[in-house]
């Protein structure tokens, strides 16, 4: 480990450059974090509007607003944009803002690469969205783009999708390299690995997952590209290839990917719960080991997405047991959070509400995940709305809730302004009631056999779908309210104290003012 940089006095505390070029050329971790978070929010609203189209169409049985082709394009783009455009960039944005402040570093280790890894994303998503305007329409094969649907039978625009995925992959890999280099080299003296805040730990492990699996995703889309245009037959049985192999390679990426989207959330919750319980986090080292175990196990369970594709019984049993094994380290985390709150002096400010919402509803999503992991019953649940309900509970009320919790928790630190507490609480309760109205009935229609990715359905599912759609519109509206809260907080509000929260710990709260200077920790802080 090296010490943080000492800084040339002449450059102390200069502010950001003026004008629009500030944002284009910036290498400042706070600026880039802000850019990432805004991109994620814009993508959340874009992907969210697509979800509104989906819910409007599913409000009643029969075809009302859109044709099946367009419906399929909506489900595909909704999934891709939410995964690669909203959740992942939001976590990278939080990493940019927080990791240097949490470990006492002046900036990220590779600031120019940081700029680049952000700025290729707008191009990637413009390319992806432009497919909607093309002849033949946007990709319509689902976010998992199974071959041969995405090779032999795909629209022309699929090539734009492939290159967009390449760009997103390059961006994520560069971002992850930056995180690893920062954490390994730029910690303040005395900040040993086992003293790092859990958000830093979970991001370090996430970054290793990213550099391990994003290149595999790049590989699989490259194989698609050569299958489509250069005469190879990776996934084409006629040339000796195998479409089932696509699913194996895709899920070898895809399963670690779902932990990429949840591990940083665990870090956020592990920061917020102790603050508002006014107790130290229970079982810090077990949290670190649990995160590492989840990451390692995530590489060994991918075929549980493929139980119905065809596998020998031994394979089904192995993947079933390995999958269910993951609930042990995940359970360790949930129990540690609950134990942290046990006999704590709890208060329920907005970030705490979102964090508690996360724990309860992520656990619901975890339980439906356990059900799906059981091979014999998965045959019934596979590709139904039960799966949709499951992954929205872990991704919306899990990952997204943690991101919103992080916003409310750290925005007073970032901007120096407190958000309006009443607004924050309205946002929480509005979202939490509507998101359950939205997704809970989907468990029931799923168990009753309603398939996913279908624009029409039989009459017996009508009531639950209508309820679900109403919840969907309400949840969508709540996020417009969130946009209002964000802008209002940035523009002004009650001044936050340096510590912001009574029970807050960590360098960003204890060693920096609110808002922090443009360049923080030019001299490394003392770690007790």
């Amino acid at each position: 480990m090296t010490t943080a940089t000492t800084h040339d006095d002449a450059h102390d505390d200069h502010g950001p450059a003026k004008g629009l070029m500030r944002w284009v050329t910036t290498t400042n971790h706070k600026d880039i974090g802000t850019l990432y978070l805004w991109l994620a929010f814009i993508m959340l609203l874009t992907g969210g509007s697509m979800a509104m189209v989906i819910r409007a169409e599913l409000f009643q049985p029969g075809l009302q607003f859109v044709q099946p082709e367009f419906f399929n394009q909506m489900t595909t783009l909704h999934g891709l944009i939410m995964v690669f455009g909203a959740i992942m960039p939001a976590f990278v944005g939080l990493a940019n803002w927080l990791i240097p402040m949490m470990i006492g570093a002046p900036d990220m280790a590779l600031p120019r690469m940081n700029n680049w890894s952000f700025w290729i994303l707008p191009f990637a998503f413009t390319m992806l969205a432009s497919t909607l305007l093309m002849e033949g329409g946007a990709p319509a094969f689902g976010w998992t783009f199974y071959a041969p649907l995405s090779t032999t039978f795909a629209p022309e625009s699929t090539d734009y999708f492939i290159f967009a995925v390449h760009l997103m992959g390059i961006s994520s890999v560069m971002g992850a390299i930056n995180v690893i280099a920062t954490i390994l080299n730029m910690r303040a003296p005395g900040m040993t690995l086992m003293k790092m805040p859990l958000f830093v730990w979970t991001w370090l492990i996430t970054a290793y997952l990213l550099i391990a699996v994003m290149p595999v995703l790049a590989g699989v889309v490259t194989m698609m590209l050569t299958d489509r245009h250069f005469g190879t037959s990776f996934f084409d049985a006629a040339g000796g290839g195998d479409p089932v192999m696509f699913q194996h390679i895709f899920w070898f990426f895809g399963h670690p990917e779902v932990y990429i989207m949840i591990l940083p959330a665990f870090g956020i919750i592990s920061a917020i719960i102790p603050t508002f319980a006014r107790k130290q986090l229970f079982g810090y080292s077990s949290m670190v080991y649990a995160t590492a175990s989840i990451a390692i196990l995530s590489f060994m369970v991918w075929a549980h997405h493929m139980f119905t594709v065809g596998m020998p019984v031994a394979g089904e049993l192995y993947f079933m047991y390995a999958t269910i094994l993951i609930s042990v380290p995940t359970g360790v985390k949930v129990f540690n959070w609950v134990t942290t709150m046990w006999k704590g002096s709890m208060t329920f400010e907005t970030p705490m509400l979102w964090a508690l919402g996360f724990i309860v509803m992520f656990t619901i999503g975890g339980f439906s995940g356990l059900m799906l992991g059981v091979a014999p019953v998965d045959t019934q649940y596979h590709d139904t709305y039960f799966v949709v309900a499951h992954f929205h509970y872990v991704l919306v009320t899990g990952a997204l809730y943690s991101i919103i919790a992080a916003f409310y928790y750290w925005v007073p630190k970032w901007t120096g302004n407190m958000y309006n507490e009443t607004h924050g609480k309205i946002h929480f309760w509005w979202s939490t009631i509507s998101v359950n109205v939205l997704f809970f009935p989907q468990h029931f229609v799923g168990l009753a056999g309603m398939p996913r990715r279908i624009p029409d359905y039989s009459l017996q599912f009508a009531e639950f779908n209508a309820i679900s759609s109403i919840g969907g519109f309400a949840f969508g509206l709540a996020q417009i309210f969130f946009l209002y809260i964000i802008i209002k907080t940035i523009k002004g509000g009650k001044k936050a104290t340096d510590k912001v929260w009574e029970g807050a710990t960590g360098l960003e709260f204890e060693a920096l003012p609110s808002p922090p200077p443009y360049h923080s920790f030019n001299t490394a802080p003392e770690i007790k």
Binding site: H7, D8, A105, A109, P111, P215
Partner: protein, 179 residues
């Protein structure tokens, strides 16, 4: 900033971190042969084996067991061929070589080429289902409206699981013509 924090990062460590994604990109492609090898060893995925006629030991026939082999034939879309087995099923002893015939007829007015892909069910029988001669070993080129009988010589290994009493062998012809 006058002093880029990047200067503090040891280049060798950075090289290692950059190397991981590059290797993993290669690993993604290495999964393709690994997948084939895995299926070949385990006999999963219905991939049948090939055996040289000279390698067969004639004294290994197990007449105490009889296995029923059913033949299926399919043509993928884009290939105007009709394709069917001449006999639909056979009763065979493990260890003995048998011959079956498939008949294919092109209804196209031009030369068409197809490749047959085999699949065996139950999947675990595939490893023991070996062929000495098969029309699937090479591409088949048919002239306009040509009909052809194609032989298939196979042997079921006598180490096949006792519980297997019936094997279904399915061939699908895919078009390999461009366009």
């Amino acid at each position: 900033m006058s002093e880029a924090p990047g200067k503090l990062i040891p280049r060798s460590q950075l090289a290692k971190i950059v190397l991981i994604p590059i290797l993993m990109f290669g690993f993604g492609f290495a999964l393709v042969p690994l997948y084939d090898v895995f299926c070949d060893i385990t006999g999963l995925n219905g991939k049948t084996g090939r055996i040289e006629a000279s390698a067969i030991d004639a004294n290994q026939v197990d007449t105490s067991r009889t296995i029923e082999v059913r033949f299926l034939a399919n043509t993928a879309s884009g290939l105007p061929w009709s394709f069917e087995p001449v006999i639909k099923k056979m009763s065979v002893h493990p260890g003995q070589v048998y011959e079956a015939q498939y008949r294919v007829r092109s209804s196209a007015d031009i030369v068409t080429t197809g490749q047959a892909i085999p699949s065996v069910s139950p999947g675990l029988a595939a490893k023991h289902f070996n062929k000495t001669e098969c029309f699937c070993f090479s591409q088949q080129k048919l002239n306009a409206r040509e009909q052809r009988d194609m032989p298939l010589r196979f042997i079921i290994g006598n180490d096949i699981d006792d519980k297997i009493e019936q094997i279904t062998l399915s061939y699908t012809f895919f078009s390999v013509d461009k366009g």
